[in-house]
Subunit: 603 residues, 2 copies
């Protein structure tokens, strides 16, 4: 099936998946402790019966029983050398069960491994654990893929990259959220959605862990941001331990009732996970058949993510300070630590900046005498694990940017893409491949623009290249190209013009490298601070700056009040009190925004 | 002659005046120490001979010999009871000398008195010293007036008011400048021009004290701002004491050579003062007859004046902080001093604010239990004498504003005129009569505007009323109508919209009462400061604020650098050094502006 066919089906239908496999296998005698996939192959009539039941109940697609057939998981049972065989056989069995009218979905699930620095498996090891499985499944003729029951967003990314680098089949990604609304690793649904849909997932959603009632808030939280269909596969309520066995507390009627609510909330692909059976599916199918399909959106907004946080740029959201301190230019101490590969110091620089109010961190490790690609990878590994805010990957070395983007467990910002040939030809497709937003630097192979018109033209040209790759304006942040006012009295006016033009006409966010403006003048912080306030007045959305500058941060918060970027002046007022800056409820959605896209409040 | 006829003549001709009277009378035997006017009446053949000579040399107008015929001056000779008689006789003699083809000009000159608080003569006493003279001259049939050889701008204003309140004849005002470029009282030519042409002078210029060469710079300095014809009447160079008598060092040829340079620089009315004779006039007339007339301008710019300083608003000029501290609202100490009529405290508040960077001072003395009209008059008397910067006269009491405007020796700013009936009907004509600029407050009898369009409509309506009286947009400063952001999150946006609209579309300067924005929020100075920077980014030209707020002033100066309002960042940089803030050469023109309208540089 092509991605296009998949999408067209979902424009017209709610896709009904199958119900539980694991709990059905256990009911039918699969013992604990065995390799489930091996047992299924050895007892294939069991899975054939289960999947035929789902087909008869109305499932349009079944998950091939390849859940644990990646190389790391199979190695636990000493079966890794049978990986190709097993995957192919499991697809063949499913096909035998459901025939050609029902889609057989290649199922990728957790390897069970953590990723470096939390284990010795590096990101690429995880990609490589999935790649042979993906290849075997493609060769066996699956119609599409699902990456499911994921708790680690970066493992989901690794699996997604493995699929994308192997074939063009549609691929759905389904995370598992606790009652808290977060995955075990601390990722919230909107953050996962933004990360995955930009990385190329054709559907995103959630499965297992909770019942359908708990998933309604998750679907509602994701829907406004979803550029892809949403998938849900809830358990039959919550598990109870009764008379020595695990049972689930929801019956078919209650389950299917919530199924309609899920569809109404925006789910496009629905099935059942643990505890559900073919009667759950048939009742579900019956209930949702008359519900109007809720389409996905064209616009997700300008959103960056880390593993555990989304940050929305623009609109009525607060101005974003991108912490500038992880940059060795002119900093001896940082240079020495980078040379010694001491990432603790880099992480401490990150924490300091976040404490002072940076909401994104620029990461630049470019200096002489180091392997920048390697050091960038190490820095991103450490920062993305131990730091909550999104990162801006900043280098003149395209390989270093790619290395960082590949392993970064969120949606990064690339700094920067200009109208220079190698940036357009090489860096732009890389940024797009990894779903990153990018900073558009308005200069070309000919250098700085000579006029405002040339500047606008460069911006438009870079945008048209980006659009060909599928980028939208909301994915782009235009750099205001700040030069020093000490050598050109029009420097501020030229940048402010660009900010205003992007804000009012062109329709993108903007960023400035703030301190460039004051180079060569005394009391630079005053000039920087005044420039930031003026910029915010013109619609500036981000600034690369040092958040340790208290005056700057105070005036930024005051400017946000004036520019309607701080509802009820809460952030401003709280910055002067000792209260906790964020309320618990605001944290849940993980999205750092004034609009309440909190999954609790979205009900 | 009507003002219109006067203007029409000058659109087609350079008006040639007469030469010296005083030095000619002395040559013909007038002794020292006598009352010259009395001696002339007693020896009328002498003046008839002199003035016939000028007529024959080509003078189109002669000054009646009424120079010292005001009541104060005549009282020095015990002749004040002959004032009417003498003025009428002197006009009659001049008419006998020159006939009807040559204009006889009623000549008003200094009373010799200083004005309160530098003497016991109050401003109104000076007006009353001139009024009987003006009345007698009008009755005697003068064609127009000249107020000449003035060293005190407020005495010139008193004479001008006396003429304007008595008749509609054209009136020229001619100040006397030292070599330094200032009058003895410290007024510069541009400041005098702005003050006098707005108060209703039909021509402005200079006479006596220096030769024509020294007047070229003065004419060049005034010309770009002159909405009226310029008059010059230089001495025959500089006086020398030779063989027991005073002689002048320039001959007819040199004098007439400079005469052509004066005409080329923009003089429209030329004659001679001390030391010149009828041959000077005939050579002058011959030399200037082929010179193209240099017309006056339609636009003087937005300029306020004090006795000794002009402040230009808008363009690339620095943002102007209007010091807000002379306002008793909520200030117990100031209330007590005002109640005790202790103006020293008011003056000290003024000096403090100027030292901190205020470039205009708001003066509001409105409080319970005082005679506001009287206290306003006292405050303006003291402040305008002892303080260098222009004043903004601020009251809800129209009589208090009028009392202040009448005695204020410059061009004040009126705070404020709204679309309320009594403001339009009563206050607007008063402001116009005294040549003041005014703050247009966009509210009406119906209260605050309900929408942006209504706000724009109110502004347009007030402007149309003002235009009927002869006001132009450059004479108006629109108030951004700041409300508190604590009760309306759009408060800043609404004000910034008005600032931008006035700056880009409507074409006036703008002012805000800065601190209103932050009422009810903590750390108000941060909000005020951010708002000022944003406002400057949108084109804000003035803010009423407390200049003791160092952060505010620092960010304002930084914003001025960014907004191209501080050439080469000089003011900014100097604010951090101990250097003198102004260079000597910049001081000469008195106009506080980045454009170099310095009379030395205008050469
Ligand atoms: Zn499950
Ligand atoms: Zn003279
Ligand atoms: Zn409008």
């Amino acid at each position: 099936m092509t991605k296009r066919e998949f999408k067209e089906y979902l424009e017209k239908n709610i896709l009904i998946l199958d119900g539980a496999t694991g709990t059905e296998l256990q009911k039918r005698g699969m013992p604990r402790g065995v390799c489930p996939e091996k047992w299924v192959i050895d007892n294939k009539e069991v899975i054939i019966d289960i999947q035929r039941g789902y087909k008869e109940s109305g499932s349009k697609a079944v998950y091939a029983c390849t859940f644990g057939c990646n190389s790391i998981k199979l190695a636990e049972f000493g079966l890794e050398d049978q990986l190709v065989e097993m995957n192919k056989e499991l697809v063949r069995i499913s096909r035998e069960a459901v025939g050609d009218d029902v889609w057989v979905i290649g199922d990728l699930s957790p390897t069970g491994a953590q990723i470096y620095p939390l284990s010795n498996y590096h990101f690429e090891d995880i990609v490589n654990a999935y790649k042979p499985q993906v290849k075997a499944l493609v060769e066996a003729g699956v119609d599409l893929f699902v990456i499911e029951t994921m708790m680690n967003i970066n493992e989901a990314r690794a699996a997604l990259i493995a699929v994308k680098e192997t074939c063009d089949l549609p691929v759905m990604v389904s995370m598992t959220y606790e009652k808290s609304g977060y995955t075990l690793n601390g990722t919230d649904p909107v953050t996962a959605l933004i990360t995955l849909q930009n990385l190329g997932a054709d559907a995103v959603g959630c499965n297992c862990s909770t019942g359908p009632n708990d998933m309604i808030d998750i679907v509602k939280a994701m829907k406004p941001y979803a550029k892809v269909p949403l998938i849900v596969k809830p358990n039959a309520g919550l598990p109870k331990y009764e008379n020595g066995e695990t049972v689930f507390d929801m019956d078919e009627d209650e389950f299917s009732h919530y199924g309609t609510l899920l569809a109404e909330a925006g789910a496009n692909i629905i099935g059942g996970c643990c505890g559900t059976t073919k009667t759950f599916i048939s009742k579900l199918k019956d209930k949702v058949k008359d519900i109007d399909i809720r389409m996905w959106t064209d616009r997700q907004g300008s959103i960056l993510t880390s593993e555990r946080k989304s940050v929305t740029i623009g609109g009525n959201n607060p101005t974003i300070i991108v912490g500038e301190r992880i940059n060795p230019t002119g900093k001896k101490k940082l240079q020495e630590h980078l040379r010694n590969k001491n990432m603790d110091y880099v992480v401490s620089l990150a924490h300091e900046q976040i404490e002072k109010g940076a909401r994104v961190l620029d990461v630049n490790v470019g200096m002489n005498g180091i392997d920048e690609v390697d050091i960038m990878k190490q820095a991103i590994e450490q920062l993305s694990t131990f730091v909550k805010v999104p990162l801006c990957i900043d280098s003149s070395n395209i390989d270093a940017i790619e290395a960082g983007l590949r392993i970064y467990p969120g949606r990064a910002l690339v700094n920067s893409i200009s109208l220079e040939q190698h940036k357009i030809d090489k860096l732009l497709p890389i940024a797009k491949k990894y779903g990153a937003m990018f900073i558009l630097l308005p200069l070309s192979d000919k250098g700085l623009p000579k006029s405002i018109d040339e500047k606008h033209e460069i911006i438009n040209t870079v945008y048209s290249h980006a659009r060909e790759l599928g980028y939208q304006k909301e994915d782009i942040i235009v750099d205001g190209l700040v030069t020093t006012i000490a050598s050109n009295s029009k420097a501020a006016a030229l940048t402010l013009e660009t900010i205003e033009w992007c804000s009012r006409e062109f329709g993108t966010g903007t960023i400035v490298g703030l301190s460039n403006i004051s180079f060569g003048l005394p009391e630079r912080k005053l000039i920087n601070t005044a420039f930031l306030a003026m910029g915010i007045g013109k619609g500036l959305t981000m600034a690369i700056a040092n958040p340790s500058d208290e005056l700057l941060m105070n005036i930024m918060r005051a400017s946000d009040v004036l520019a309607m970027r701080d509802k009820d002046s809460l952030t401003y007022i709280e910055s002067f009190s000792k209260q906790e800056k964020k309320t618990k409820s605001k944290e849940i959605a993980g999205v750092d925004t004034n609009e309440e896209i909190d999954i609790k409040q979205a009900i």
